[in-house]
Amino acid sequence: MSKILFIEDEVAIQKTLGESLRSKGYDVQAATDGEMGVRLAKSGKPDLILLDLILPKKHGLDVLKELREDEVTEHIPVMILTNLENVGEVEKAIELGATTYLIKANYSLNEVIEKVEQLLKKSS
């Protein structure tokens, strides 16, 4: 089953989305700050990374930049999952190589799970 790395500091989001994906059989690994996220991405080589932007220790965009600069992680699809809707941030994330950018508040839990599954299907 596909491996997902979920970089998110909000416990509520980690639990609800993380548990939903686990119950569907995905192997979900959780990172609660940016530095931990980069470390786990390099060591765990997940099939998909879900990345929040406002993170302790390292901002999500810096995490993305670092992932794209490392040959181990440069090809892993990254879904930005945030509540920030600044045009500049969206553009920067896409420019840095994010696969897609979702505003959490605009999606239900099921819709996000569907997007995750679609992305995994596409990349496999």
């Binding site: 500091d9 909000e10 416990v11 509520a12 989001i13 639990k15 609800t16 989305l17 548990e19 939903s20 686990r22 119950s23 569907k24 406002i54 993170l55 302790p56 220790k57 901002h59 945030t82 509540n83 920030l84 809707e85 600044n86 500049g88 941030e89 505003i103 959490k104 508040a105 239900s108 839990l109 099921n110």
Partner: protein
């Protein structure tokens, strides 16, 4: 037609940018244009009369060039200021949307999860009562939303002068001791210590007790929140004639220099504060300043990133 006229109405445009005339690029360009025209005519006239003494002409040219240089520099600065104001506006919308959306998303997703088929699968593997974790998420995020609404209501009341601002005489040190007591659990959970140093015979202050309680709660709460684990917070209360001065020193994350001028603005949060603590509303210091301004007090601070922050405020004595 009206909008075409608007383009030529420099005063209206400057008003739209909310900057004083001397900082408004359109107005400064107009001034520069007038100076160039006047200078050209003057050169002609001066040249006609004083052509025998080139020093006079050279002097006038130097003076005019310096004036134009100063105006050009001011124009560049005013463009930078406008760009900065625009950046701040975008940042403001960004933070507001994030702060309002985050607890709502958490509430929505937690409820959807509890009602989902996936939850019944998860629940089978959970020990009894484990679903309470998800009810805790709902409870915590409702409180967060409530706090945000409370803050916004306090601001509306303060801005409209409807807050409980009846002045009484009370001891600022006594109030502070009470607030520190309330924070006891939070202090031990964050491994932070706090010390209150008070001068003897400090006069009573004259202010609204409930509003000044909000002020001290905000400042003490911030000092603990942004202290690193094991940090120490010192509160000093002394007479700074004719007012009473409150000073709170922390050894926390500090406020980055470039963010310091915005720290009392509504919804503003310093970059390092957002990184450290995702939950803040960015309204506490705005409320604090609003209250103190209304009570005849004053607030200021000094801060150094990664070293700590000291906030001061004064209140009139009774």
């Amino acid at each position: 037609m009206a909008s075409k006229f608007f383009q030529f109405n420099i005063f209206a445009q400057c008003k739209k940018y909310q900057v004083p005339l001397w900082q408004c690029p359109q107005f400064l360009f107009l001034v520069m244009g007038i100076i160039i025209i006047v200078a050209s005519v003057s050169f002609y006239v001066i040249g006609e009369h004083y052509v025998s003494d080139p020093r006079v002409v050279a002097l006038v040219v130097i003076v005019v060039s310096i004036t134009l240089l100063v105006i050009a520099f001011t124009i560049t600065r005013s463009f930078e200021d406008l760009a900065e104001a625009n950046r701040m506006k975008a940042e403001f919308v960004n933070i507001v949307s994030h702060q309002l959306r985050a607890p709502l998303t958490n509430l929505r997703w937690a409820t959807q999860f509890l009602l989902s088929e996936e939850f019944s699968t998860v629940a089978k593997n959970l020990s009894t009562g484990k679903e309470s974790e998800y009810f805790d998420i709902i409870k915590e995020n409702s409180t967060r939303m409530e706090q945000l609404i409370d803050d916004l209501l306090t601001i509306t009341r303060l801005e409209e002068g409807r807050a409980d601002s009846k002045k009484t005489k009370f001891s600022l040190a006594g109030l502070t001791r009470g607030v520190i007591e309330e924070y006891k659990t939070f202090l031990s959970a964050s491994n932070t210590s706090i010390e209150l140093k008070e001068e003897t015979n400090i006069p009573l202050v004259s202010a609204s007790y409930p509003l000044i309680k909000i002020v001290t709660e905000n400042l003490i709460g911030n000092a603990i929140n942004y202290s690193r684990n094991g940090g120490k917070v010192i509160v000093e209360i002394k007479l700074s004639f004719p007012k009473v001065e409150f000073k709170i020193i922390d050894q926390g994350i500090g406020i980055p220099f470039e963010d310091q001028k915005y720290i009392f603005e509504k919804f503003f949060r310093a970059k390092n504060a957002v990184k450290e603590e995702d939950y803040g509303t960015g309204l506490g210091l705005y409320i604090t300043k609003l209250i103190l301004d209304g009570m005849g007090g004053k607030i200021w601070f000094k801060s150094q990133q990664d070293k700590g922050t000291t906030f001061f405020f004064t209140l009139p004595t009774g």
